[in-house]
């Protein structure tokens, strides 16, 4: 179970770092948004895995949902938000294979 919490915190940190480095938005506000977005998607994604959903399908759903939330919360163009979501989730998903 500790692994789960570690993975959750790692996801938040990595996603925050990547999006912060790209956007250079206010870090406090951005961190708050990233925590909220991950609190929404991360438990549901894990439940979906446990219930037997495909890893790639779940990751795709997470990328799309997070792109919408980033688009609305960061006031960016949708394609930019989609790009941010794709990069951030692509890296965290890759990390899950490495770690």
């Amino acid at each position: 179970m500790i692994v789960y919490f570690f993975s959750f915190l790692l996801t938040i940190n990595v996603e925050f770092l990547i999006i912060y480095l790209i956007t250079r938005l206010s870090w406090k506000e951005l961190l708050w948004y990233i925590i909220l977005i991950n609190c929404f998607t991360w438990p549901l994604a894990n439940i979906a895995y446990v219930l037997g959903a495909s890893f790639y399908l779940v990751e795709l759903a997470v990328i799309l949902i997070e792109s919408i939330l980033l688009w609305k919360l960061l006031n960016k163009k949708y394609l930019a938000a989609l790009g941010l979501s794709l990069i951030a989730n692509g890296i965290t998903a890759s990390l899950s294979f490495v770690l």
Binding site: I37, C39, P43, V50, K72, L73
Partner: protein, 281 residues
């Protein structure tokens, strides 16, 4: 209205059937610990054969030296010894045929004889000797007819005794009971590191009248492959506690699942509130 009632009836029937179907399944959050027993010094008593008979499922299993015996999870077997006949060429076949006959019980003779014995003991026509009561101690702890468990215990005893007598009569093999009732380890939380338990029994004495079989120790194997031996203290009947266990209860997964859903919903509500507030500005 009739259709609704009929629909509800079907639904209730299906629910009832689903409960029946689930009765033999593992409840969520639990896992079963593989259990078997072995008679450690069986080879030292080569003049005797050993057999286990499970109640209430009625399985008879020949116990081979060095073999760890598994049995059905709800069964509660007793170990018996028998004097090995001089000519034991067809022994396995004979035992197998006899146990099949008793299990099939086509004539219903077991129930009939068991009921007769039950009534005779209950009315006092037959008195159980202290030794006989002791043999079935797990069921007749205190042979008190006023005890609500007395009838169940007595039925259990008479059923076992009748099967034992019938086995002896049909096979010509006299069984010597250890009176030791064994049972599976059961289930633990799915987070528990315990994987299997091997109970080690030791024959302390055996002759034509008596079999003294004792629980010596239990060997626990954990999920990580480590093993641990725990010895029984004198008179101990419960399993010795394994050293490794978990503080996570069986409902941990359900709690995590529900917790995850709650956190997710709370986060979504917060995001919506932020967006609505921003929109109003």
């Amino acid at each position: 209205m009739k259709r609704i009632i009929f629909g509800l009836f079907i639904l209730v029937c299906l629910l009832g059937l689903s409960n029946l179907a689930l009765a033999d399944m593992m409840p969520g959050g639990y896992k079963s610990v593989s259990y078997c027993f072995i008679i450690e010094n069986q080879k030292d008593y080569s003049d005797y054969g050993f057999i286990s008979h499970g109640y209430p499922m009625g399985q008879w299993e020949i116990i081979n030296p060095g073999e760890c015996v598994h049995f059905y999870k709800y069964s509660s077997p007793t170990v018996y010894a028998f004097k090995m006949p001089v000519n034991n060429e067809n022994l396995t076949q004979k035992i197998s045929e006899t146990k099949d006959k008793i299990l099939n019980n086509e004539s219903g003779i077991i129930e009939q004889k068991s009921n007769e014995l039950f009534n005779k003991i209950k009315t006092g026509e037959i008195k159980l000797s202290a030794d006989e009561a002791k043999r079935f101690k797990p069921w007749i702890v205190v042979p008190n007819p006023e005890d609500p468990l007395y009838e169940d215990s007595l039925r259990h005893y008479t059923y076992m005794k009748t099967q034992e007598d019938e086995f002896a009569e049909q096979s010509g093999i006299k069984l010597i009971s250890s009176g030791l009732s064994l049972h599976n380890y059961g289930t633990v939380s799915e987070y528990d590191p315990l994987k299997s338990a091997q109970e080690v029994l030791t024959v302390k004495a055996v002759n034509d009248q008596l079999l003294i079989l004792e629980k010596e120790k239990i060997i626990y194997t954990y999920e990580d492959g480590m093993t641990e031996e725990k010895y029984y203290s004198a008179g101990q009947t419960d399993f010795p506690e394994p050293s490794k266990t978990t503080i996570l209860p069986p409902w941990t997964n359900t709690a995590l699942f529900l917790g995850g859903v709650v956190i997710s919903l709370a986060a979504l509500v917060t995001i919506v509130v932020i967006l609505v507030k921003r929109h109003r500005k």
